[in-house]
Symmetry: C2
Subunit: 296 residues, 2 copies
């Protein structure tokens, strides 16, 4: 999975349309705020499109980080829609990474925004139409149900947070509660919610986010969620490695989706050289390592 978390301050120069370093001529830097947002969002979209063209062929899909688009307001949301469209045009799956979660009535509205449509007096309005999205399970099963149901209707998937990749996750998600860590409770919810959705390949439409930064937990989580596709952030910039992921692929080579953002898109910054060829190279290398592991 190619993670796209575009930071308008570190876009590829080709997207900004300035000189080779992406510097914009001085007179163009201080447009009115609304114009700045529009121009920045257009640059973000060009950046995403360029990254998809460069690295997309080594990936099964893109993971769009909603926060990074939302900070550019309405033009940012348009850029999100266009980036999703660009990915689909290349035959890539699209995951909206927004980690939404709310009480059931509101969860229904999020489901409409992500994989559904909403009825209005002026006709149906379609949402993003993504292939899968991430969800936060803190509010419990009744709050996840509208998301899971809407995803199933749209033939899309849900990835519930079970064990995230950040250090602070431990104090909440690894808490004994009381007989087993909270993340195992959440894994049980994922398994139950996905029970009716298992397809011919033995995979459910309800998956889990399980950070690659704690590979020691993955064998147990795979056992608790035998049918779930595990979305694995934390490789590269956050310190996780592919080699530790073997248990994830125990049942099926598509049982895990490795997602990498900065280590692909910003590969050119570390290695020097053209950002696009550095990204293509980093993505291809990650694909080879993951595939070797998954199919072994």
């Amino acid at each position: 999975m190619l993670g796209l978390d575009p930071d308008p301050g570190t876009l590829w120069p080709v997207a900004v349309g300035g000189d080779e370093a992406g510097e914009v001529p001085e007179g163009e830097r201080d447009a009115p705020a609304s114009r700045s947002a529009e121009r920045a969002a257009a640059a973000v979209e060009r950046h995403c499109r360029a990254a998809i063209e460069a690295a997309g062929r080594a990936c099964v899909g893109v993971k769009l980080q909603l926060a990074c688009f939302e900070r550019l307001g309405a033009p940012g949301w348009s850029a999100l829609e266009l980036a999703a469209h660009a990915a689909r045009e290349q035959g890539l799956l699209v995951i909206a990474d927004g980690k939404r979660g709310d009480v059931p009535a509101t969860a229904t509205a999020y489901a409409q925004a992500l994989v559904g449509t909403v009825a209005t007096p002026f006709g149906e309005v379609p949402g993003l139409g993504v292939d899968a999205f991430t969800a936060n399970p803190l509010l419990g099963v009744d709050a996840l149900a509208p998301l899971v149901e809407a995803a199933a209707s749209a033939r899309a998937g849900v990835f519930c947070l079970v064990r995230t990749s950040n250090p602070g996750a431990a104090a909440v998600q690894d808490r004994p509660s009381p007989d087993r860590p909270l993340h195992e409770v959440l894994a049980g919810m994922v398994h139950e919610l996905g029970r009716g959705t298992v397809g011919e390949h033995g995979l459910a439409s309800v998956g889990a986010v399980t950070g690659a930064t704690r590979p020691d937990l993955l064998a147990r989580l795979r056992q608790l969620m035998p049918h779930a596709v595990l979305l694995l952030p934390g490789i590269g910039a956050q310190g996780g490695t592919v080699d530790a992921l073997r248990p994830v692929f125990a049942h099926h080579p598509a049982g895990g989706l490795v997602t990498a953002s900065r280590s692909i898109v910003d590969a050119g910054r570390a290695a020097g050289g053209d950002p696009a060829s550095a990204a293509a190279h980093a993505a291809e290398e990650l694909r080879e390592r993951t595939w070797a592991l998954a199919s072994s």
Copy 2:
């Protein structure tokens, strides 16, 4: 708090611009999707503006449900910005209810979207600029920190989910973990995060969402978070009552914010008559009951 969770299917007729029942003439119903989204978003904005004009004077602020705007895409995000602007023009506080939460790098992007700005090659782009927002603490303290810090810099507040109002919350948030329920652990996090932010009135900038549907928990939660402002959803449509909220106001009459959405905005549907005067009446009644309790 006036909760605005606009459903494009049940807007006030005055907002839709059709006949008295809000019916749009047949020929105008099937515009192309992008045009539908724009027209629906404009109607949502008019609906919010009318609700704010009708019921705003009985409220200290509005709580905007981000999901309800996001489902209309980029035009929906514009409507969100305009609704926030309309509330501020009336001297009302604005809470963005999006329950965001993500790993630290992404939490920083959400903070920029809500209360900050983001640097772009085309100048700074401001976010929504709200007075407070809701956040999901499942990812732990390191993930909340960028939100809390950005809010403090912007003189804004954060409401962390501690005990939500939906039935399914019990199985996760009330779980013994191991010596005390998870919601008490989250309350401890809120208290710690807010410690350095307590102002002259004894209130911190880090508050908590504590559903009014479980009033039996509130005395204990108040004890664990003596300086937190508690945001209290669940009154009205979800079955909570104001009278059970006494412990919330033990230290300060501004220690609790009752938020009601459907029971105000949809009051006209139950009672009949003009939606605006029904909403004004419902909001005023709630204000009186809450204020009587808070100041007693």
